[in-house]
Symmetry: C2
Subunit: 139 residues, 2 copies
DNA sequence: CTCACTATTGCTATGACTTGCGATAACCGA
DNA sequence: TCGGTTATCGCAAGTCATAGCAATAGTGAG
């Protein structure tokens, strides 16, 4: 199935802007912000409104083409959905970001599922805390 | 130690607004938004600027009097720091919020600490996912 | 190919913060 | 008690994200 068919199967349409937004996210190696997506699109094609970018990222997320995560700051980061999953540790003190495999969370995920029937997406939000280096400095 | 001394020990000052903001959070039974704090202060005393509320919440957080958490929506919720700790489960589909004791997270917290030296604050951000009811409906 | 239908776009407006700046008022030492 | 220093305040402006709305453009049917 291609993008166009996937979209139409859900009553959505394949517009120029939508295709450009997806391509921008796919070409990016790592997480990108909506604003970075807009800049990339503007570099390739012409102008694009920020709200269009946001709405398309959301639409593409529904289709399973992209996903977003919340890192330390309140900016949302987007990336292609077919990347390997990992969670983020963000230091509250120095802002350092670290990646950990999702396997670290499987125990907790299973526990929340059996005890609360809750399917947790633990990679979605970064885990805030104090990194090793800052913990040493502070004590 | 009282609020005034705590503040001055850090080179900060005890202003009318700062005291009112703290009292507003302390009187609130549960989590409150910055806007709700502003409204409470305005009810008690006169006018207060939103930016003053935000800056004071931040200052009081530094001193350990209040803390904030991020729930599903984009708004930040504040509460007194001496409340019993609990984490939140937020359903991505219906928005339902559930509370779980932090004890559920101690295993993961210990693991992140030994493997990465990272002191995780797992109650800070809500865990997103799909609640039991929505999981049943979707399948 | 043409046309009607309606999803999507861009624009504007709102919400939740955040930041810069001059005026004000805590605080401390004399 | 009286300044002088400077943290903090209120206001204006800016950012990121979402929502409403008229105009536009994909789409499927004929």
């Amino acid at each position: 199935m291609d993008l166009g068919s996937d979209l139409r199967a859900k009553g959505k349409r394949l517009t120029v802007q939508r295709r450009l937004v997806l391509e921008a996210v796919q070409r990016a190696r790592h997480h990108v912000t909506a604003d970075e997506v807009a800049k990339r699109v503007r570099g390739e094609a012409g102008q694009i409104d920020p709200s269009t970018v946001y709405r398309n990222l959301e639409a593409l997320e529904e289709l399973g083409y992209v996903t977003h995560t919340h890192l330390g700051s309140r900016v949302t980061r987007w990336h292609r959905a077919d990347m390997h999953q990992h969670a983020h540790l963000v230091c509250r003190s120095c802002g350092a970001e670290d990646e950990v495999p999702v396997s670290v969370f499987t125990g907790l995920a299973r526990r929340l599922r059996t005890s609360h029937g809750f399917r947790a997406d633990l990679a979605h939000s970064a885990v805030e805390g104090i990194c090793r280096r800052c913990a040493v400095v502070q004590s």
